[in-house]
C-alpha cells in the first residue's frame, strides 16, 4: 500500500500545472483574452489528450490517476478548455466502443468532440429523447450520446453545427450548448460497437472521478487564493489572516477540500484497478464528497474575500460557478447518495 503519487505522476502534475498556469484567468475578464488554442496545443503536445486512448495491448495509455491529476490541475487553473468533455469523457467512450481511430484523432488536438447530457446534466443522453445539452463544448464540432439497442447501448455522434444554441450557463469557463428541440434520428451516426453494461459503468466511474478531480482543483485553488489574500489584506492595523475567525474559516474550507482530494485520489486509482462495482462506488463516494462541500467551500472563499469577493470583476465567483456546475454534471450528492444507499442497504 502506498497512497501517494509516483514520481512520474508527480512530474505529470507539474507539467499540467504549468500549462494550466499559462491558460488560467486571474480575473473574469481574462476569459476573453486567454489563448485557449495555445493551451489546447500544449496539452496535445504534452500527450495529455491521449491518456485515455488505448495502447497496443488495449490498455489505456494513462491510468485514471493520471487523468485525474490533469483534471485537477486544469480545475485549479479554471482553464477554459474542454479537457473533460473531449479528452476524457468523449475519448473514453470512443475507446470503450472500440473506435480507436476516432479516439486517436481527438488526442492530436485538431478535432474536438464532447458529450451530450440529459436536461438535468445528470447522465449521458440516450437518444432520441427530449432536450439535451452539449457540455464543455468549446470548439467541438460534434458530441457523443447513446442509443438503446438490442445488444446494449450504441455510441452515436451528433453534429453540433445545427440544432444547438448557446446556453448562458453559470460556469463562465466552459461552453454549454442547448439543443433547440428533440434530436432527429437522422442526425445520429453510430460509432464503434455497442457497449456492454459494464463498459458503460466503467465510463461512469471515470467520468464521475475526473469531474470530482476538477472540483477538487477548483476548491484547492480557491482556498489557496483566499489564504493568500488574508496575508495581504490589512484591517484594524493587522493582516486579516491573524484573526482566529478568518483562520478557522480557511482551515475548515481547507479540510473539506483535502478530504475531497483523498476520496478522489482513491476513486482515480480504482477506475482501472478494481472491479467495476467497487470502482463505481469509489467514484460515487468521491463525487458525493466533492459535491457536498463544493458550495460551502467556494462560498467561504467569497466570504473571506469580503466585499471584493462579491463583485463580478473578482475571480472568486468564477470558482463558485465552475464548482456549482460540476456538482450537477453526472449528478450531485442528491443523485449519488441514493445509489450508494442501494448498494449498502440492499446490494450486500
Amino acid at each position: 500500500m502506498l497512497a501517494l503519487l509516483s514520481d512520474e505522476q508527480q512530474m505529470l502534475k507539474e507539467v499540467a500545472a504549468q500549462i494550466a498556469g499559462s491558460a488560467g484567468p486571474s480575473n473574469p475578464s481574462d476569459l476573453n483574452t486567454v489563448d485557449r488554442a495555445a493551451a489546447w496545443r500544449s496539452l496535445a503536445q504534452a500527450g495529455l489528450l491521449a491518456l485515455r486512448t488505448r495502447d497496443d495491448d488495449g490498455r489505456p495509455v494513462g491510468s485514471g490517476v493520471e487523468v485525474a491529476v490533469v483534471a485537477e490541475a486544469l480545475g485549479a487553473g479554471l482553464v477554459p478548455v474542454p479537457y473533460l468533455g473531449s479528452a476524457v469523457l468523449a475519448t473514453e467512450l470512443l475507446a470503450l466502443a472500440g473506435a480507436h481511430d476516432e479516439a486517436e484523432a481527438l488526442s492530436e488536438g485538431d478535432a474536438r468532440t464532447t458529450v451530450l447530457l440529459d436536461r438535468h446534466l445528470s447522465a449521458l443522453a440516450v437518444l432520441p429523447g427530449e432536450q439535451v445539452y452539449a457540455w464543455d463544448a468549446d470548439g467541438a464540432a460534434d458530441a457523443l450520446a447513446l442509443t438503446a439497442g438490442p445488444d446494449g447501448h450504441q455510441v452515436v455522434r451528433v453534429s453540433l453545427d445545427t440544432g444547438f444554441v448557446p446556453a448562458t450557463g453559470a460556469d463562465l469557463t466552459r461552453t454549454l450548448l442547448r439543443s433547440d428541440g428533440p434530436i432527429d434520428e437522422a442526425r445520429l451516426t453510430p460509432v464503434g460497437r455497442p457497449l456492454s453494461a459494464e463498459a458503460l459503468l466503467r465510463w461512469e466511474a471515470l467520468a464521475l472521478t475526473v469531474i470530482s478531480a476538477d472540483i477538487v482543483g477548483v476548491m484547492r485553488a480557491a482556498v489557496a487564493r483566499a489564504v493568500a489574500y488574508t496575508k495581504e489584506r490589512v484591517q484594524y492595523g493587522v493582516l486579516i489572516g491573524s484573526f482566529q475567525a478568518v483562520q478557522h474559516l480557511c482551515a475548515e474550507a481547507y479540510v473539506q477540500a483535502e478530504a475531497s482530494a483523498s476520496a478522489t485520489n482513491y476513486a482515480a486509482w480504482a477506475v482501472d484497478e478494481l472491479d467495476v462495482a467497487e470502482a463505481l462506488m469509489a467514484a460515487r463516494t468521491a463525487k458525493t464528497q466533492a459535491a457536498l462541500v463544493a458550495r460551502e467551500v467556494t462560498e467561504t472563499v467569497m466570504q473571506v474575500f469580503g466585499g471584493i469577493g462579491q463583485t463580478y470583476e473578482h475571480i472568486a465567483h468564477v470558482h463558485t460557478r465552475r464548482a456549482l456546475t460540476d456538482r450537477q454534471v453526472l449528478g450531485d450528492e442528491g443523485v449519488q447518495l441514493p445509489r450508494i444507499a442501494d448498494v449498502r442497504l440492499t446490494g450486500e
Binding site: R119, L121, V234, Q235, A245, M302, Q310
Partner: protein, 375 residues
C-alpha cells in the same frame, strides 16, 4: 405582550393597504431599463411623501409625524405584502442630520430629503477600509472657506443615482484615527466626483465606487464639528436598516411561496425531505420576523438601537442564504444551465448579505462584546 395591531395601528394598516392597492404602479417590477427603474423609485418616493408615508417616525419639527416606529414597520410590511416598489431610505441620513446639523443645514437639507427631491448615498467604506472603517484615507484638506477632498469610496450603494452624499473624510491625519474624521454633506454633481458602478457576482450593478478628485466643499457643508465624523458615522450605522426595515420579511415570504411553487411544478411535494426543507424555511422566516418584532418593540419602548440588531442580521443572512440554497437544490441543473438564470442571480445576490453592513464575523464580535466577553 400583544402581537396584534392596536386599534390605531389596525386603522392605519387598513388605510395604507387600500392606498397601496390603488397606487402601486402596475408592472413596475417588470421594468428592465435601469434609468427608468431609478426614475420610478424617485417618483414612488414623492408619491409616498405626498401621502404622508415618508419619515412618519421623525419628530414633527423636522417634517415628520412623531409616530412610533411601528408605523414604519407596518409600511414596510404592507409594501412587501402588496408588492410595492422599494421604500426610500431616509432614516439613517435624516437621523444624522437632525442629530448633528446646524439649524440652517436642517432647513436646507431635511425637506428635500423627506420629499424625495434629493436622494442620498453614504460615502463611508473604502477599498482599504471595509470592516475597519476608521482606517479610511479619503482626505479633506481645509483651503480657505472650502475643504478639498481627494480619495476613493467603495460600496456606495445608489452612488450612481444619488444627488447628495453623506461623506466621511479625514481632516486631521495627526490624531488617533477615530478622532481625525469629519462628516460632510456634498452634492454628487460637484466637479471631481466620478461614479463607477460595481457589478456583483450575479452580474447586476448593486453598488458603486466613487472617486473624489479635488472636490471642493464649502465649510458650511461640514456636518457637526471637525473630528466628530466617527461619532456621526456610528450613530448612522446604528440606524442602518435591518431586515425589518426593508421589507425583507415580506419579500422572504413571497420568495418562499415561489420556492414552494417550484417544488410543486417539479412534482417534488410528495417528497418528505422537500416538504421538511420547505417547512424549515418557513420556520426560519417566522423566527426572524418574531425576533424583529421584539426588537422593534424595544425601540418603541425608547431603547436606542443596540447590539441586538446583530442577532437579526445573522438570522437574516442565514434565512436568505438558506432559502437560496433550497431553491438551488430544488432547481438542480436548471439553475446552472440558464433555464432558471434568475434564481442563479438571486443566489449570488444573497451572498453579500453576510458581508455588507458588517460581516457575519463582525456581527459575532459585536455579540461577544454584548456578552461582555473579554477583549
Amino acid at each position: 405582550m400583544d402581537y396584534r395591531d392596536t386599534p390605531e395601528e389596525a386603522e392605519f394598516r387598513a388605510t395604507l393597504r387600500e392606498w397601496l392597492s390603488a397606487t402601486i404602479p402596475a408592472g413596475w417590477d417588470k421594468i428592465e431599463d435601469e434609468l427608468e427603474a431609478v426614475r420610478l423609485r424617485k417618483d414612488w418616493h414623492r408619491t409616498l411623501y405626498r401621502a404622508g408615508y415618508v419619515g412618519m417616525s421623525w419628530p414633527v419639527e423636522y417634517g415628520g409625524r412623531g409616530l412610533s416606529p411601528v408605523y414604519d414597520a407596518i409600511l414596510n410590511e404592507e409594501s412587501g405584502n402588496l408588492g410595492a416598489p422599494p421604500l426610500p431610505s431616509v432614516g439613517y441620513i435624516g437621523r444624522a442630520i437632525f442629530m448633528y446639523a446646524s439649524e440652517e443645514q436642517k432647513r436646507r437639507f431635511l425637506p428635500p430629503l423627506l420629499s424625495g427631491e434629493a436622494s442620498w448615498c453614504q460615502g463611508f467604506s473604502e477599498p482599504e477600509a471595509g470592516s475597519d472603517l476608521a482606517s479610511l484615507r479619503t482626505a479633506a484638506r481645509l483651503d480657505g472657506d472650502h475643504y478639498v477632498v481627494n480619495g476613493q469610496k467603495m460600496w456606495t450603494s445608489g452612488g450612481q443615482y444619488a444627488d447628495w452624499c453623506l461623506l466621511l473624510a479625514r481632516t486631521d491625519p495627526d490624531v488617533p484615527k477615530h478622532k481625525g474624521i469629519s462628516a460632510f454633506l456634498v452634492s454628487m454633481t460637484e466637479p471631481g466626483v466620478t461614479v463607477r458602478p460595481i457589478v456583483i457576482a450575479s452580474g447586476e450593478a448593486e453598488t458603486a465606487e466613487v472617486f473624489w478628485d479635488d472636490v471642493r466643499i464649502p465649510v458650511e457643508q461640514r456636518l457637526g464639528a471637525p473630528g466628530e465624523g466617527w461619532r456621526i458615522a456610528m450613530t448612522t450605522v446604528a440606524y442602518e436598516r435591518g431586515p425589518a426595515d426593508i421589507g425583507f420579511i415580506a419579500n422572504y415570504r413571497r420568495t418562499l411561496r415561489k420556492v414552494e411553487g417550484l417544488a410543486a411544478e417539479r412534482g417534488l411535494l410528495e417528497k418528505e425531505e422537500v416538504r421538511k426543507a420547505l417547512a424549515r424555511a418557513y420556520v426560519r422566516g417566522e423566527v426572524l420576523r418574531l425576533n424583529c418584532m421584539e426588537q422593534l418593540s424595544m425601540r418603541v419602548s425608547g431603547r436606542a438601537p443596540g447590539p441586538e440588531g446583530s442577532i437579526a442580521k445573522l438570522l437574516w443572512a442565514d434565512a436568505e442564504q438558506s432559502l437560496q440554497h433550497l431553491a438551488m437544490d430544488i432547481l438542480g441543473a436548471d439553475e446552472m444551465t440558464g433555464v432558471a438564470a434568475g434564481w442563479l442571480s438571486s443566489y449570488f445576490t444573497s451572498r453579500p448579505v453576510s458581508v455588507y453592513g458588517g460581516s457575519a464575523q463582525i456581527q459575532k464580535n459585536i455579540i461577544a462584546r454584548m456578552l461582555d466577553m473579554p477583549r
